[in-house]
Symmetry: C2
């Protein structure tokens, strides 16, 4: 692991769509945001819709008639890849906080090992949104020549202090919940109150004020969802936050969240050297940098700056600032706009 | 109280600067934001700097050579005015959650009673920032002719769902802290963990991403402040949040905060009727609406809309969107820009 320690017998969960061609040069490796699994789209083995269902398939932006698409669950997450909630083979107990320090670079390296194991020596494209938009930059820094193209989607070369503040408050909501027990909670008794707060705040940062005014304005909450305790929910937007939080608490592990969230704060492309030199060394034929103007957490200015660094490194770069109002999460919602930009890039 | 219940023997804490003239027509009533006391500036009785020290005094924006300035601690707060932390004379115990439902209109009415008791029949100006920017609108709605002029500073006619979401998460941080004990905590054992989270999040919403990039960027935290527990603070911005939160926890009461915060979510000028008609009935000679472009919590668009409503009501209105980068708190920080606009208005 980049910051010390090692994982032995680690596993990676992944899914694939399309087929690796004979030349083995049509693979697209897709990293995810903080929360999703590798299930980006339906497949024969799992017919449920995935988190990027309208983006991956025959004739879609990630065209599985042309590309072999691989999505990997981040190292450190809890959907099949090894993370703090996994059993440490050494102790036969969950790793919990004995999991080694996690960095964005470790997630990139895990994805690299995966595609090598699948027989891919050079990716057609390495791609990722949000946290994944950091991972692709780590990938470029660590594996020069490892991909022909790179697509950073609502990502950044380094988190701003504003994003760090918001994420650190989310982590503190969990670590200050007595049920967290310094990471030693049982899966049946997670730090639910802290996780609820963390996810509600996360949801605020993933969306935008304009979208919520349009969707909820000041509508009252549905009568059956109205809080019955003092200071309980009164507005529709509070019911939405509650629903989002409830869904997440029932699927995500608190310690995994803490590790992944902290890794995002710490990531800095410049840790690998002068960013322009790092990206030149990465030897990419093309780069795509996409973001949205209403993004609070990964603001468009950071993507603009990243695109400029790519340009300056001599990489043929397309910068696509999108006018979506859904904030950071737009890549999950406005698949029409994102699909057009990403589809054009992959066809090029 | 507007939403039911009554307070008996309630008290109001206030401070004054300058002198009421013979005609009793030079009084400026200043409401505060959520957290401050009535100590807006130093005075003979309390020489410490106040929260608007550079704004109130001889020759300053609120010119005490001309005006009799009165600042009142909001009803429901904890700096001398009656609120949930005060002793209920009926039970001889703190009110806690037996305090009646609090609304912005109750705070306005309390201020009105205060100035009447001081012998003022009509204010020269009613003024307030943030929460106080809501209170002045309630004042105008409740007391037609009660003020000749009105200044709304980084206020709004109704909170957006985005602001409601952010405030409701802050309240939940407190109410889900087991130490809150449904409001029955002792003053020595407040729900400190929840209050810390609430204030840190509050601080994020009071500032702006641009300011923090300028001030903190990705600087590491001072070594002596570095968190020693897992996932502890690593960046300078986290040290800043911690300091802000620590200061607030030692002075503010959690229940008072919950009441005031909820009152802000609930306030809506339109509850008094068509806003244009309400403001026409208020019979103001002039209105000033000031806000800043980087405000996340009371966005400039809401102030623009409020200014338009004033205009449409037939009130001579000045709308001043300021290019400060300090976000919502700019009125506390950029007193040069705010002082100029407010001073010009009061001289007019």
């Amino acid at each position: 692991m980049r910051r010390g320690g090692a994982l032995r017998g680690a596993q990676l969960a992944y899914e694939t769509w399309g087929r690796l061609n004979h030349a083995r040069d049509n693979a697209v490796l897709l990293f995810t945001g903080l929360s999703p699994s590798a299930h980006a789209a339906a497949s024969a083995g799992d017919p449920r819709d995935g988190w990027w269902q309208r983006m991956i398939g025959p004739g879609l932006a990630l065209d599985t008639d042309r590309h072999f698409v691989v999505c990997v669950n981040s190292l450190g997450s809890c959907f099949g890849s090894t993370g703090p909630a996994s059993i440490d083979p050494h102790s036969a107990q969950p790793y919990r906080l004995s999991f080694p320090d996690l960095s964005i670079e470790d997630i990139a390296r895990a994805g690299h090992e995966l595609v090598r194991a699948l027989g891919v020596l050079r990716l057609d494209t390495v791609m990722g949104p949000s946290l994944g938009g950091m991972v692709v930059l780590a990938y470029a820094a660590l594996f020069p020549g490892g991909a022909r193209r790179l697509a950073s989607i609502s990502g950044t070369a380094a988190a701003s202090p504003f994003a760090i503040a918001l994420r650190s408050i989310q982590r503190e909501a969990i670590t200050s919940d007595p049920a967290w027990r310094n990471g030693e909670y049982s899966p049946e008794q997670p730090p639910a109150a802290g996780m609820r707060l963390a996810r509600k705040l996360g949801t605020v940062t993933y969306r935008s004020a304009a979208e919520w005014t349009q969707r909820f304005d000041r509508q009252p909450i549905r009568a059956d969802l109205r809080g019955r305790t003092p200071f309980g929910s009164e507005f529709a937007v509070q019911g939405y936050l509650e629903a989002q939080a409830g869904r997440w608490i029932s699927t995500f592990d608190a310690n995994c969240y803490l590790y992944l969230s902290q890794a995002m704060d710490r990531f800095e492309l410049a840790a690998h050297g002068d960013p322009q030199a790092v990206l030149r060394r990465a030897d990419l034929a093309q780069a795509l940098v996409v973001g949205v103007e209403s993004d609070l957490l990964f603001p468009i200015g950071e993507q603009q700056a990243l695109a400029s660094t790519f340009e300056a490194s001599g990489t043929a770069t397309r910068f696509a600032p999108l006018p979506c109002i859904e904030g950071h999460d737009a890549f999950l919602v406005d698949t029409e706009r994102f699909g057009r930009v990403i589809g054009e890039f992959l066809c090029g």
